[in-house]
Symmetry: C2
């Protein structure tokens, strides 16, 4: 529902490209995204680039301030916590809808994905982060609920952003085993266990990600100061 997979849809293309760049941390939080550069890079006019930025902004991935260059958002620590809270609720819902109802083909699909995750385990961490995220989106898509897919995608992308901000350098090799366990439990049909598993899985991720701010975590000054700046108005 965000935008169709229509190959002619240029703004959709750009959105996907940028989302992917962001999720793989090729574009770090705070990176500037000037309309013309984008347009030039993708071979379209500013108009289109602008439209794409609008989309991404509505997904919470870029920040759009009037008369200012768009930037990749820098989620606050509080934002991050909120997002994880919501994510847990939504993914529990997904698990509830899915437990015991997956067709063999779907199970196979999931296992194939996890295999890909394992394969990428020793590769660049950007890829494994992306795959881990896509696992959750894949799961969501099996509910056949476009709305759920959209929200979980959005949230999962934003969690990636958060990870690149707050998480310890090498915590990214997050629970592939947990993914496997979830698939198995889903297949077995034990709703409660599946929900608990998903809950603790996400809890793990959140814990790895959300090491308490401990102010000067190498991040840009302006980000560190953001909360204080809020006080002044």
């Amino acid at each position: 529902m965000p935008e169709s997979p229509n190959p002619k849809d240029k703004v959709g293309m750009i959105c996907r490209a940028l989302r992917r760049a962001i999720i793989e941390q090729a574009l770090e939080p705070g990176t500037k995204l000037p309309e013309d550069s984008l347009g030039e890079r993708f071979g379209v006019s500013r108009t289109i680039a602008r439209h794409a930025l609008g989309q991404l902004a509505s997904e919470g991935l870029v920040e759009l301030r009037r008369n200012r260059i768009a930037v990749v958002v820098t989620p606050s620590w509080q934002d991050a916590r909120d997002i994880f809270d919501i994510r847990m609720e939504l993914e529990r819902l997904i698990v509830r809808k899915l437990a015991g109802k997956l067709k063999p083909a779907q199970i196979a699909r999931l296992k194939a994905h996890v295999a890909a995750e394992q394969e990428a385990h020793d590769g660049p961490s950007a890829v494994s982060i992306r795959l881990a995220t896509e696992f959750h989106i894949l799961l969501a898509s099996m509910t056949n609920s476009p709305v759920l897919v959209r929200y979980v995608s959005e949230i999962a992308y934003r969690c990636c952003l958060t990870l690149s901000l707050f998480s310890r350098p090498h915590s990214s090799e997050c629970g592939i085993n947990e993914h496997i366990a979830i698939i198995d439990t889903l297949q077995s049909g034990d709703v409660d266990k599946a929900m608990a598993l998903m809950h603790s899985h996400l809890g793990e991720v959140a814990n790895r990600a959300l090491v308490e701010p401990s102010p000067a975590r190498g991040r840009d000054l302006v980000d560190v100061l953001a909360p204080y700046a809020d006080e002044t108005r």
Copy 2:
């Protein structure tokens, strides 16, 4: 985060206006929204109108098909069910965050809102639907979680759309009393009871809204046929 309350932000203005028009059912599902008409009506160029439509589309309120006039979405019955499911989860989360933590000023604010609902009870049903919806959004906003606010707003708006499609003519005078009960329980701090109340409140709304399609519910042919059309591709 969707768009700032900046008064200079024309596309934000148009979005708000259209959202409100949709929520009050001045624009029914299926209504066409040509860019130029919109632009003319709001005194801006097509460019801006177009941008606004893009926003609304990403919120799931309008449908945007390539080279075709944008229309107010016509949610399918299944969509409606999904949306209510998600809504329940999110609002339960809200209640959990809020129970026992509301400041007196916030309680007062809520009660004032309910009073307004009561006042509008005998007025046009469009207004009371809007107020009922805004009650939930107000609640969400008290969590101070922008993401939560955004999602609940979006979902609530879409529920309104659904209502105008599926609900019986005069079911709109939905539980003002239930709103009051929720406020009271929230104040008392009984998390479980508050969650149960909210759950049943939404369940009520959903039941009133989602009378099983029973095919020819006066709706347009094309809508009835939509699911069958899906089979063909």
